[in-house]
C-alpha cells in the first residue's frame, strides 16, 4: 500500500480542531474523574494483554504525594484490607500524615509515573487515526481516554495510582507559563510540585516572593534566570545595591556598569529629568544603554547620546559630540 505523501485541503483544514482539542485536554484543571480513570486504566492494560489490575488508588493531589503513596504501598506488602475502598482510605490517611509531619525519607517513583492529560504527543496520533484512517493507532486508545479524565498516574502490575490535574495554570500573552504573584502552575494539596515561572523561565519560589538580595542575583549561574531576577528586583536598585562601578560622570549624568558572568555587562546611565516635579524637586532616571555603542561607552555624555535612536534602531548621532543640546525638554 503506498504511503500517504500529501494531505488534502480538507485534512489540512482540520489541524486547528486537533490543536484546540488537545490544548483543552492539557489545560484542564478539574479534578480527576476516578471511575473513568479506572476504566481507562483497564483499557490500557487490556490493549497490551496485561492482566487487569485489582487495586485502584487515589486520586492524589500531585506527583509528589503520589510518590509517597507508592512508597507506603511497598511498606504494606502482605497487609490485608477489607476491600479497595478501605485500602484507599488508609493510604490517603497515611500520605496526609506523612505530608503533615514532613517525613520525606522515601525514594521517588517519578520515573514510574506517566502523564495523563499532559500526553500532548497523542494529538499527533489522534489526527492520523481520525482524519487519515491510519491503522494501528488504536493501541493508544486507553492513554487517550486517560488524558481526558486524569492527571499523571502510575501503572503497576496489580495497582494503579491516580492523580488530580494541576489546579491552576497561568500564562503570559505569548502562552509561556508566567505568574508574578504566585505559582504559574499550582497543584492541589502540598506545595512541593508548584512551578514558579516568569515568561516561561522557571525560577525558585523566593524569586516570585521577592525574597532575595543583589548578592543572590550575582550567585545565580543561569543567565536567563539572573536576567529575570534583575528585572523583578529593578535594574536601578540592582545596580546601586551590587557594588557596580561608576564609569564616568559629567553634566549629562552618571554612567554605571556591572560585570556579569557569562552575560553582557549591565550598563545604565543616571540622568536628571530637566523638568521639575510638582514639588519643585528634580527626579533621577536610570536608562539602560548598550555597552558596545560608539565602540564601547566610556562617558555619560556618549551614553545619553546613544539612547537617541531612529525607528530602525540605528543611532541618531554618528558621534557623541554631535549630541549637544542647547535646550533641554
Amino acid at each position: 500500500m503506498p504511503k500517504l505523501e500529501e494531505l488534502t485541503p480538507e485534512q489540512i483544514a482540520k489541524f486547528g480542531f486537533y490543536v484546540q482539542k488537545w490544548l483543552k485536554i492539557g489545560l484542564d484543571t478539574t479534578e480527576c474523574d476516578f471511575d473513568k480513570a479506572i476504566a481507562a486504566a483497564k483499557k490500557c492494560y487490556a490493549l497490551k494483554g496485561l492482566p487487569e489490575p485489582t487495586k485502584f488508588l487515589g486520586p492524589f493531589n500531585n506527583p509528589f504525594e503520589s510518590s509517597i503513596a507508592t512508597s507506603v504501598l511497598s511498606k504494606w506488602v502482605d497487609k490485608s484490607f477489607e476491600n479497595n475502598t478501605a485500602l484507599n482510605e488508609a493510604l490517603m490517611k497515611e500520605v496526609a500524615s506523612i505530608i503533615e509531619n514532613k517525613r520525606f525519607d522515601f525514594p521517588s517513583d517519578l520515573a514510574n509515573q506517566i502523564y495523563g492529560n499532559h500526553e500532548y504527543w497523542l494529538s499527533y496520533y489522534d489526527y492520523f487515526r481520525t482524519e487519515c484512517a491510519i491503522t494501528g493507532c488504536e493501541i493508544t486508545d486507553g492513554l487517550m481516554d486517560m488524558a481526558i479524565v486524569c492527571g499523571w498516574w502510575t501503572p503497576l502490575a496489580g495497582a494503579c495510582v491516580f492523580q488530580h490535574r494541576p489546579e491552576q495554570i497561568h500564562f503570559d500573552d505569548r502562552r509561556r507559563i508566567h505568574n508574578t504573584e504566585g505559582p504559574a502552575i499550582k497543584f492541589r494539596g502540598s506545595p512541593y510540585n508548584n512551578v514558579y515561572a516568569l515568561h516561561g523561565i522557571r525560577v525558585k519560589e523566593n524569586v516570585i516572593r521577592r525574597n532575595y538580595t543583589a548578592a543572590d542575583i550575582d550567585k545565580e549561574s543561569n543567565v536567563e534566570v539572573r536576567r529575570v531576577m534583575i528585572d523583578l528586583y529593578g535594574q536601578e536598585k540592582y545596580l546601586l545595591d551590587s557594588n557596580s562601578k561608576v564609569v564616568h560622570a559629567d553634566d549629562f549624568g552618571t554612567l554605571y556598569s556591572k560585570e556579569q558572568s557569562n552575560d553582557e555587562i549591565l550598563m545604565m546611565v543616571k540622568v536628571i529629568n530637566a523638568t521639575p516635579e510638582p514639588d519643585g524637586s528634580f527626579k533621577d532616571y536610570f536608562v539602560r544603554v548598550d555597552p558596545k555603542a560608539y565602540n564601547g561607552l566610556k562617558t555619560a555624555h556618549a551614553a545619553v547620546a546613544s539612547t537617541w535612536r531612529n525607528k530602525d534602531g540605528s543611532m541618531v548621532f554618528g558621534s557623541p559630540n554631535d549630541y549637544d543640546p542647547d535646550i533641554q525638554t
Partner: protein, 67 residues
C-alpha cells in the same frame, strides 16, 4: 479481603507507555511519508504547548531532588 502483594507493585510503565509509543510510531512511519509526518507534527503537536509539559516535568524532577 484484598492483600497487597509484592508482585502488584512491579512497574509496568514500559509496557503501558513506552512500548505503546514505539508501536504506534512504527505504524505511522510505515503508512505516512516524511513530509506529511513533519507537517502534522509542526501544525498539530508542536502547537499543543509541549514546552509547558516539559517544564512541568523538569520542575517536578528538580523539586524531588531538593526535598
Amino acid at each position: 479481603m484484598i492483600t497487597i502483594k509484592a508482585s502488584d507493585l512491579v512497574p509496568v510503565k514500559y509496557q503501558v507507555w513506552s512500548q505503546v509509543s514505539t508501536q504506534v510510531s512504527t505504524q505511522v512511519w510505515a503508512q505516512v511519508g516524511d513530509q506529511v509526518r513533519d507537517q502534522v507534527r509542526i501544525q498539530v503537536e508542536d502547537q499543543v504547548l509541549h514546552q509547558v509539559w516539559t517544564q512541568v516535568r523538569n520542575q517536578i524532577r528538580d523539586n524531588h531532588k531538593s526535598i
